[in-house]
Symmetry: C2
Subunit: 353 residues, 2 copies
């Protein structure tokens, strides 16, 4: 799908419906009739119930599980906000395509596939399996002006919509977000600061592992970005364009498309949450379809959850991104789905209720 205007985006958002609360009640009734004390499977029951509400059935199926890992580069890397050279973005894309990265290992572990999409890497990549949808070879430096034009942000969101739709058309009923982009905790923290109204010092963390001096510099860079782009921070889309990245925009679009298609979407970590935040501010109902996988070790992630009143599934002190947290959480969501589908009822098992 091409998003060529704000009107296209509005039309997409308008199609997003809330999940079926009545089916969720029916799902809980079934869960209460399975051979266990009521509610004793805790979050697994919550997950199963929500999948039922999303899929409009109390016998849900996840089909293929697919993680979409969007890669892009960031002009702000030139400010020295990361300890890792920009070339690592394309090197890691190659690693994803050859199956050697963390997300590959964890996706295989839970029976998921990884699709890798170049939405803006600052290098030509000729690797088999890559989905090439480059908007531009990296964003502009957000500390000097807008990272993207609004039209580019819409184009990157459209890549997310298109690839999510392709995955769904191939049988996926649960998607996971993933990303790669050296320096991308910087645009993410800038977006959280702008859209949540929190202090830059609180939301900004160490990313791949920067030292105190670099952290202070990163905070100063983000403050400069917020100041120079202040006129654009009036609405979520304009903020995304001014401060975000192509992969963050693509994740935002992917989440909107999953919600429109009534497909569960598992949100990975800190950077994916920035994309999710834009999606939630554009489309309130989109939250019904989002499963937040884990609390990142990146310091600002807790603030995001606190501000939104949400709790992630896992607390494993991870901070790798790529879709690694989404992969693990997919395994838990599938466990919940199997509980409602496969456990015996009291009557079936001859167990006193």
């Amino acid at each position: 799908m091409v998003l060529s205007s704000r009107d296209d985006l509005k039309a997409l958002v308008k199609e997003i419906q809330p999940v079926n609360r009545l089916v969720m009640e029916q799902a809980q009734a079934r869960l209460d009739n399975l051979t266990k004390p009521r509610g004793s499977l805790g979050e697994l029951e919550v997950l199963a119930r929500r999948i039922c509400g999303i899929q409009d059935t109390i016998r849900p199926a996840l089909g293929r599980k697919i993680i979409l890992t969007f890669a892009a580069d960031h002009g702000v890397a030139m400010e020295g906000v990361s300890s890792v050279p920009q070339a690592v973005t394309r090197q890691m894309v190659a690693n994803f395509l050859r199956g050697g990265a963390g997300v590959n290992v964890l996706a295989r572990h839970v029976g998921a596939e990884v699709w890798v999409i170049d939405v803006g890497v600052a290098a030509e990549i000729n690797e088999a399996g890559l989905i090439s949808r480059k908007v531009r070879a990296g964003t502009a430096n957000l500390a000097q002006g807008p990272a993207m034009e609004v039209a580019e942000a819409l184009q990157a969101m459209g890549v997310g919509v298109e690839t999510a739709r392709a995955a769904i058309s191939k049988g996926a009923r649960i998607l996971g977000t993933g990303e790669m982009g050296i320096a991308n905790t910087t645009p993410s923290a800038a977006l959280f600061a702008a859209l949540l109204g929190v202090k830059v010092e609180e939301i900004t963390g160490r990313g791949t592992g920067i030292d105190d001096a670099t952290l202070n510099h990163k905070i100063a860079v983000i403050k400069r970005a917020l100041a120079i782009n202040q006129a654009s921070l009036q609405d979520p889309l304009a903020s995304l364009a001014a401060l975000g990245g192509f992969e963050i925009a693509a994740i935002c679009g992917m989440i909107l498309e999953c919600a429109r298609s009534r497909v569960a979407v598992v949100v990975d970590g800190f950077i994916s949450s920035a994309g999710a935040l834009v999606a939630l501010q554009l489309a309130e109902n989109a939250g019904d379809y989002c499963f937040f996988s884990h609390m990142s070790a990146e310091q600002g992630h807790r603030i995001f959850f606190d501000k939104l009143g949400l709790s992630p599934l896992l607390h494993l002190n991870m901070r790798l991104g790529e879709g690694t947290g989404a992969a693990l959480a997919m395994g838990l969501i599938e466990a919940g789905v199997k509980i409602i589908n496969e456990m015996a009822t009291f009557a079936e098992a001859g167990v006193s209720a």
Copy 2:
């Protein structure tokens, strides 16, 4: 293995060695050389490192994954401490053997097997697949005197040792604890109170879901049990005999045998933790081999972790037991093992370190 005396137990405990810390350092060096920022896979790296220390290799393998679910009844059920009739213990054993219970679904999900052992159910059970090692048809009522003789507790521990050894001999390199026994949060809370020196009111919870009046009654019953058995609460083994259950003793024995055999053991929930606590008090090094799967919704579980300075892997508000939490945690531990075995190094992937 028959444990027929305290000396047999001492001999077993004496064979338990600490894990190999040098191999754990070598494992971390390998983890630091994989294509990710150092430490960015958080707890998965901690898990992988410890499995390496347990198995004495930086290329570990989990082999078969087996959950041992021990079932037994409790004389204290006659005090009305549970909302569920005692007959449900044997009914659920049949459900386990037919594959319809929560632990079966979650074990299948992670590729684990469930072995079901009758170590003291108050009924004859003729079901294919059951491992029959009944010590007695339920414990005595701990509110009126000792639940077990010390010799019976040793016998039940021996069942745990024997079945763990059988699973290991068949290729298991990770075992999970599980249990079924109506009323068994009562002996568990009593054991925690006695062995951790915490208040009965704080450690006692609602089990399958009792109301306020029954909870107050349960607290009074536990206080009576502690008073009447006070002379036996001098050491872990005597406390286990006076207050415990056959399944709790079996779990204790199973953990000791895993530690002796240098095999990882995943501890399920509140009741399994009571068995683990006895094992840790008997054998300090046994803790090196224990992976605590989750924080149960049963209120006292948090106190157990706080007192021991431990953190469980998962926080999913579960309180079913059976081995359900152990199953899910096995999946995470396996994820950690795959990370160290399957991820590409910087050199292999051509990624700048």
